[in-house]
Symmetry: C2
Subunit: 384 residues, 2 copies
Amino acid sequence: MKKSEDNKVVPIFKHDNSAIIEKVSDSFDFQRGGHLDEVSMAYETWGTLNKNKSNVIVIFTGLSASSHVTSSEHNNSAGWWESMVGEGRPIDTTHNYVICINTLGSCFGSTSPVSINKKTGKPYRLAFPELTVEDMSKASNLLLNKLDIKRIKLLIGPSLGGMNAIAFAVLYNKVVENILLISTATQASPYAIAIRSLQREIIRKDPLWNNGFYSYEKPPLNGVRIARKIGMTSYRSALEWSQRFGRKKTSNAELNQNTFGVDNTSFEYEIEAYLEHQAIKFQNVFDANCYLYLSRAMDWFDIALHGKSTLDALSKTKLERALVLGVTSDTLFPLQQQKEIAEGLSQAGAKVQYKELNCIQGHDSFLVDIETFGLEINNFISNL
Amino acid sequence: MKKSEDNKVVPIFKHDNSAIIEKVSDSFDFQRGGHLDEVSMAYETWGTLNKNKSNVIVIFTGLSASSHVTSSEHNNSAGWWESMVGEGRPIDTTHNYVICINTLGSCFGSTSPVSINKKTGKPYRLAFPELTVEDMSKASNLLLNKLDIKRIKLLIGPSLGGMNAIAFAVLYNKVVENILLISTATQASPYAIAIRSLQREIIRKDPLWNNGFYSYEKPPLNGVRIARKIGMTSYRSALEWSQRFGRKKTSNAELNQNTFGVDNTSFEYEIEAYLEHQAIKFQNVFDANCYLYLSRAMDWFDIALHGKSTLDALSKTKLERALVLGVTSDTLFPLQQQKEIAEGLSQAGAKVQYKELNCIQGHDSFLVDIETFGLEINNFISNL
């Protein structure tokens, strides 16, 4: 399980230095056609696998996250769900063995458009095969096989990670015992497709994108940054921003309020400066082509294609228990979609708990309102 | 009231050919500083002004609309609110004299960044002074003075038109008797600022925008088109799109689903094709610089600046009756903002009717669900 030198990624998109990279296949066929001679997956683990391997919790991530879900002895930087995962935290690593898997196609270590094609010695870029959520599930399952893990006590997935988890629970139904799904969907809605389609168009229309052949030293930062801002308007909520920012101005508001110039290093309103700050953080770590692939995979996702209907497809799952968490202020993955998941899994025979959480941070609430989510998750895990 | 030759606009942004253009000032000071030696306003009228001029209904428009609210004997093309205004329609022109005014700063005939600066013989572009909603109100009031209209029986404003109407009712409180406000706000919310800030950034980042000095033959169409698409995701609703488009694919979906190429003349999902179609219509008629000015004016709007608070500012209105219409699915101008308007006008002494309409088309519902809106508007006007 040492880091594979074969899976070099372009320097600016370094995976977290604590991720383990494991070659999982030397012949990977993608669902929509296309093939790679080698697929590797990046992951991290916390806690200790028990003797009968019955304490495995697997976390699939949202579109933009790495496998670094929480800090560890190897990497003490805070993870993307730091307060949720760890010893004594809701997803407790004291007795559980937690594995967080970086999604196939993500630029944080798993094989992706920034990985080097050994045949050419260059990154795949758009020669990377068309990617689906099912491909992500398949690659994750190959990793678990490699790690000789046959059963998952609990599979956790928020957002894209939830789509991945739903696909996994249908495709590898004997592997998953229990599931925790957060703000996700059995298929992409037209509203979510519209938002993502726009984000991709903005990246493609950045002249620096150059049909995918951008310089990694000078990537299409404008496109990625603006796409991220659009994402944020759909990830958070109007109510949160009204309470948090209102009409507050930045300290340099007077200087900058009048210009329509191309320079936007500063902004008049705090909400504008906040979006810029968050989006710059993202533009500097996320690869544009990877973003396009992961985004389109979400649009294509429709679990109903695995049966006669969504219900029929979900009937293939063999889950004991499921916790389905939705958020009232989530406009991107609205409550209706969470209800459909809960009803579908219930009809499939699982014992389902469905909760509508009254958080104000929209789709991102699971990352922010740790208290509310932690309580529900802790209760659920304690009773498994 | 003949068309002024002095107010030539750049050919591609022709105003509706039925609009009358009237010079309203030869010395116009803008609220934030800045000055123009000449301001003209474009408008259209329907019906006949009665002897004592007591039958005047004035309509202020949303950001993207012209003065052509409905067809007329001079221009039989359908207006932007065709089914709402006309003989026998909810805003009945049989006995009322309806004036629809094109907003100052809009490219449809009123003085704007595409108007020719007589001193230079060239369009103002970004030399146009910073524009506020209050400037729009002031220019509209000057037009009414010019037309010798001292009293407005009913002032109507949806969206930006509603902000304009609120400002007008505060600034020229002796002119307005009754008001009809639709999906608008007493001040811009941070969520709405975020959306508009993004739209402007996308236009500015289009290389063809060229700091405002684009060629009118080759304007920044990508920027304007994508900005419009972002607008549409905030103008409509996820529920409407789920019902209307679902996951339907376009007929050429198979051809185009795989590409991340720069060409997006066709799309895989119907929702994508719909957005593209609507946005192309817009990009071909709306000027980029005008869009920037009107958009920023909305962010700056805060009626509270005309008093110690929103309530204090609204207390300056002298309205008899008000109808305030909000839509449950409107995320851009949510119900909370409509309630605030209704309560403020009520405390100011107006007899206020406030209705939350259960339309699914979001902010744009007033343009689409004519049956629901028409009923409310007709009832209100009939009792004036």
